[in-house]
Amino acid sequence: MTATNPQTGKGQAKTKVMTMLEAINDAMKVEMRNDDRVVVFGEDVGKKGGVFGTTMGLHEQFGDNRCFDTPLSECGILGAGVGMAVYGMRPVAEIQFLDFIYPGFDQIVSEAAKMRYRSGGEYTCPMVIRSPYGGGIRGGHYHSQSSEAYFCHTPGLKVVIPSTPADAKGLLISSIRDEDPVMFLEPKAIYRHAKDEVPVGEHTVELGKARIAREGTDVTVLCYGAMVPVCEKAADLAQEEHGRSVEIVDLRTLVPLDEHTILESVKKTGRVVVVYEAPKTGGFGGELSAIIAEKAIEYMEGPIVRVAGFDTPFPYSLEHLYMPDPKRVAAGIEKTFVW
């Protein structure tokens, strides 16, 4: 199949229909072929191909040296990854679930993130840390968290969260090519959610550029990852029930943040809802709200509304209440009109 290249808007790039999971797998294959410094490692990523299947076939195709299983140690995976990156490799480390990353947190915030700065630019850490995040999969406390804010609060890290198969591939390839450490957080709830056209072979999406997922004129919804399809459904509801024209901005990368696209949209609509599935307090949506309040308050015609997870550990049986859903987001949209 062919389609318009989503980046350039021109050309007839060849595409293939893929899930996000397949697109992520494809991105790693492309980069492992392109650059022999790229190595993929983590728990169960070898012969098994990952617990979700994102590394399927890599071990078979590239061998033990390029794709390998590690001992069960997040601290070791990330610490060794830092050493490999410093040495000159392009490590792609997988942390099986973002919930399990904390034993290696020190290696991310104290080491990877500060490498370039602390050595005056002598040493760098071009490592990608891939990890599935987020709820809606009956995963309970420890297979559901959305802890991107911790990483956004650490200068030196980039934080990337795709919401479509094509973006997942393009953003992952860009992350692997990036000169700095990247947290590549994968919305596992939509790994197999929808198939989409994904460019075959080379495909990059620039880090730091948001995507207008849907154009609208009345209200802006800011979201990322698995919340994007939720917000799309909410936009349909708001249109049907109240005739609201909703613009959806998919942030794609939280760091670096595309403030320009956010502010342009907010200034156009005068209303904004910020949607994230992490606990409400201290979440990245608070940062987005503050940026808008600082830089576009004179354009606002209603309150900046947050729709988020709860200030609780992630629940098991009641996750349907915890997770923002189309109804909650649609209610949030109405709050910007009626308050």
Partner: protein, 394 residues
């Protein structure tokens, strides 16, 4: 009352002497590699037979870093640098191990490996630039003192977190192996770091992947105020290597010939594909943890005095004198020369200007972000922002 106090002091001294004797290398079980005796002699057939050039190089490096160390602590006391982590007593462990490697091999240091940085090309002036944190500092004034970096000498710029560099050394060695490079990685740590989680991760990964590295523990007996006995219940630290499935060796860290020899053997093993080695070098931290620490609060002078008698530099000098390679005249001339070089380096470093304001936001990422530009511009636009008057509060 006074008599009672005295006798209490006396018994404390006796206890300290006993503790020191127990921690003395020769008193510990599981053997200890030692070549150089206290009187500077080497048992027949045990001399590693280093060239005259190498022997003098080892000695000069030890003496140089000792003088540097002494002067930097003085500068700190005079308020000319903010902090310093002294090396005194550990010169042989560092100099001997680095000298056993090839220059292309990588070094992941901990706090007291300043000598290694110098052996890998850091000039005295550059070292002092780092301690001052001036504009000519390789780290651009971004780190506390003693955090050197020498990229072209494969000397890694560490953090202050204990033990994290152990897994970095492992990772670099794994990478070298994957790439097929003829590189050995030397990772340093202190005795305190053997309690840190990264010790476990780094050692385990190193052994599982048979990576070409040497894990070198400078067991200086103290982690700030915590003695080795509170750090580990293991009979020796060296034996921890066994649990990870790697060769391990316990060496007299104040015997530069022994340190050199065991490191050389470990490097050869790594180079021929036989994986990592764990080395415990038994030595002693004769001064405080840092310029902010007063060890008289937690340990007895008798213990320190005992280790002064095992001085690594004196011991090696006697060896050189016996070999006819060194004498009093050479010693005097060399010390004068080093004193002058340190003086010149201090003068040069103190002339350097502080880092440029813009370096506050560079090197966080390959490119400065829009947000960082905005934050800096906002602050620089303000008048009268003052100067840095901060002082490390310990």
């Amino acid at each position: 009352m006074a008599a009672k106090k005295r006798s209490k002091k006396k018994s404390r001294k006796a206890a300290a002497e006993k503790a020191a004797a127990d921690s003395a290398p020769a008193a510990k079980p599981q053997g200890l590699v030692r070549l150089l005796e206290d009187d500077g002699s080497v048992a027949k057939g045990k001399d590693p037979g280093l060239t005259e050039e190498t022997l003098l190089y080892l000695y000069e490096q030890m003496v140089q870093v000792r003088e540097f160390d002494r002067r930097m602590l003085m500068l700190q006391r005079q308020g000319r640098i903010g902090f310093y982590g002294p090396i005194l007593g550990q010169e042989a462990a560092t100099v001997g191990s680095v000298a056993a490697l090839e220059h292309r091999d990588w070094i992941f240091p901990a706090l007291r490996e300043g000598a290694a940085a110098m052996m890998r090309g850091l000039s005295l002036t550059e070292a002092i630039n780092q301690l001052i944190g001036n504009g000519a500092d390789r780290c651009k004034g971004r780190q506390m003192p003693c955090h050197y970096t020498v990229k072209e000498g494969n000397y890694y710029g560490m953090s202050s977190v204990i033990g994290t560099q152990i897994s970095h050394a492992t990772g670099a060695a794994m990478a070298a192996k994957i790439r097929g490079d003829d590189i050995v990685v030397l990772g340093y740590m202190g005795d305190g770091a053997t309690s840190a989680n990264d010790f476990h991760c780094g050692m385990n990964f190193a052994a599982v992947y048979k990576s070409p590295c040497i894990m070198f523990c400078q067991n200086n007996q103290w982690a700030i105020s915590v003695p080795l006995s509170k750090q580990s219940a293991s009979e020796t630290l060296a034996q921890k290597g066994k649990a990870y499935g790697m060769p391990y060796v316990r060496v007299d860290g104040n015997d530069i010939l022994a340190v050199y020899s065991v490191t050389k053997e470990a490097a050869a093993r790594a180079r021929q594909g036989d994986g990592p080695t764990f080395i415990e070098a038994v030595t002693y931290r004769r001064l405080g943890h840092s310029s902010s620490d007063d060890p008289s609060k937690y340990r007895d002078d008798a213990e320190v005095e005992l280790w002064e008698q095992r001085d690594p530099v004196d011991r090696f000098r006697v060896y050189l004198e016996k070999k006819g390679l060194w004498d009093e005249d050479k010693e005097a001339a060399f010390k004068d020369d080093i004193a002058k070089r340190v003086n010149d380096a201090i003068a040069a470093a103190e002339k350097e200007a502080p880092p440029e304001d813009e370096t506050l936001v560079t090197d966080v990422y390959a490119r400065v972000t829009e947000q960082q530009k905005e934050q800096l511009a906002e602050v620089l636009a303000l008048e009268g922002r003052g100067v840095n008057t901060g002082a490390f509060p310990l």
